[in-house]
């Protein structure tokens, strides 16, 4: 027994070092697996406040581009206004119902919550963004995040006022996508090399794809609103081992200069999950 104590005393430095190594490796692999960490809530608040301050300077550099994007989106939204459409001959009269039931709310599926991007990275294999909106403002895990031009990522961890978003440029991110033409379902993922491009995998060869085709989110996704822009096809590669293509897709979102984003809340997600759970129970 005495020898054990002597041994520990003699090699205490080594033991301490090894213990710290084990601790760090444990947090590392745990975080990457479940996208959450022991202190993530507290740490997000602290790093978030530093990032917010820095971002207030950084915003100025991309102000012009951001303005253009928002103007384009504004124009798109203005074109959808009811007042844009005019029917010269109206054969029906409009009667407003006095019963106070907001019938619109029942059918709404997606709700867009605007948020400011306070930190962003593109130069690692696992890129994350931090947004200035958290649990207190109605953000929960697994919500989709889109930008004015195209999709951005998925919320992976939240704190009171911030949330961390796994960027589309993350080795573990996967989005169900489809060509806007209507065929060619596949999965969009990132190979970790060029932040400007992602890959649409496993598109069957029966589909004819061309350079410049638009890739959008599919309606099979339970997070993203269907038909939201992902990017445009840049080149087409054959996969010799399977009967499918790999399409190289240029992302619509410019990840270098993103400053604003919308967190998309799927209001019917709970119902979908319940249904899926009940199916599992039957099986």
């Amino acid at each position: 027994m005495r020898n054990v104590f002597l041994f520990i005393r003699r090699y205490f430095n080594l033991v301490f070092f090894l213990a710290l190594q084990v601790v760090s490796l444990m947090i590392l692999f745990r975080f990457n697996k479940f996208h959450e960490s022991v202190f993530s809530g507290f740490a997000n608040e602290v790093t978030g406040s530093v990032n917010t301050r820095f971002n207030s300077v950084e915003t100025y550099f991309t102000l012009k581009k951001e303005n253009e994007l928002l103007r384009a989106q504004n124009a798109q939204l203005l074109n959808k206004l009811k007042s844009d459409f005019y029917w010269p001959d109206s054969t029906s009269t409009f009667v407003s119902d006095t019963v106070r039931i907001d019938s619109l709310e029942q059918y709404r599926k997606f709700l867009y919550l605007p948020a400011k991007v306070i930190s962003n990275s593109v130069n690692s294999q696992q890129n994350y963004l931090m947004l200035h909106r958290g649990e207190a403002q109605g953000v929960t895990k697994n919500m989709a995040v889109v930008g004015p031009a195209g999709i951005v990522g998925t919320v992976v961890s939240t704190s009171k006022n911030m949330c961390v978003v796994m960027s589309l440029l993350h080795r573990q991110s996967k989005v169900v996508a489809v060509l806007k033409k209507g065929s060619g379902y596949g999965e969009v993922s990132w190979d970790g090399q060029d932040p400007g491009y992602v890959t649409l995998m496993k598109v069957p060869k029966t589909v004819t794809a061309q350079k410049g085709d638009t890739v959008v989110t599919s309606q099979f996704s339970d997070k993203y609103p269907p038909g939201y822009m992902i990017g445009t096809v840049e080149s087409i590669e054959d996969d010799p081992s399977a009967n499918s293509y790999h399409l190289k897709v240029k992302t619509a979102t410019d990840f270098f200069s993103i400053q604003h984003a919308f967190i998309v809340k799927n209001l019917q997600r709970g119902e979908i999950e319940e249904l899926e759970k009940s199916i599992k129970r039957i099986q």
Partner: protein
């Protein structure tokens, strides 16, 4: 300025420079992350006890990790170099006595060649370890090797520039002080 205060300021500055400046450099991003922050550990005073050195390394790495959302990655590498540091210094120091005369490792206190070897080896170990952990998750051997050498090169360049820009006054410590 006391060592504690000086090193606390360095701690914060190195983290901020790494997070807010170096991690944002776009043209290198695809292949290389320009790392400089670990220079903080190389600059810690000689007389830091080995145990607290290891602990400081861990905490330093962990605080960077929280900014880049990879808890544990940099912490592991920093603990490693903080631990190896003391062995390397014993091996490289020309004389035992110098350790008492100067406060912290620098070209003046160690001599050019020993200091260069010290920086080179620790930088290399740090990068190999970090990129190895990354490689475990996405194996690609050529990419890994290329990245190790390119990143080490860039880091050494940055350290040279830093050493030239900030002339640390490594004054000779006398018995009076």
């Amino acid at each position: 300025m006391s060592d504690l205060l000086k090193n606390s300021i360095r701690f914060i500055l190195f983290i901020l420079v790494q997070v807010l400046v170096l991690n944002k450099i776009p043209s290198l991003h695809r292949f290389i992350t320009p790392y400089l922050y670990f220079l903080f550990i190389l600059w810690l005073p000689f007389k830091t006890p080995r145990l607290s050195m290891t602990l400081i390394g861990f905490l330093f790495g962990l605080s960077l990790d929280f900014f880049v959302h990879t808890p544990g990655l940099h912490a592991a590498a920093c603990t490693m170099i903080a631990y190896l540091r003391s062995f390397l210094i014993i091996l490289l120091m020309p004389k035992e006595t110098l350790e008492i005369s100067y406060a912290e490792p620098s070209i003046t206190s160690m001599g050019f060649m020993p200091y260069a070897t010290y920086v080179l080896l620790l930088t290399f170990v740090h990068h190999v370890y970090i990129l190895f952990l990354e490689w475990l998750q996405f194996p690609n051997i050529l990419y890994f090797l290329g990245k190790v050498f390119a990143t080490t090169g860039i880091s050494l360049l940055l350290i040279t520039i830093t050493e030239m820009l900030f002339n640390r006054k490594s004054r000779y410590r006398t018995n009076v002080a």
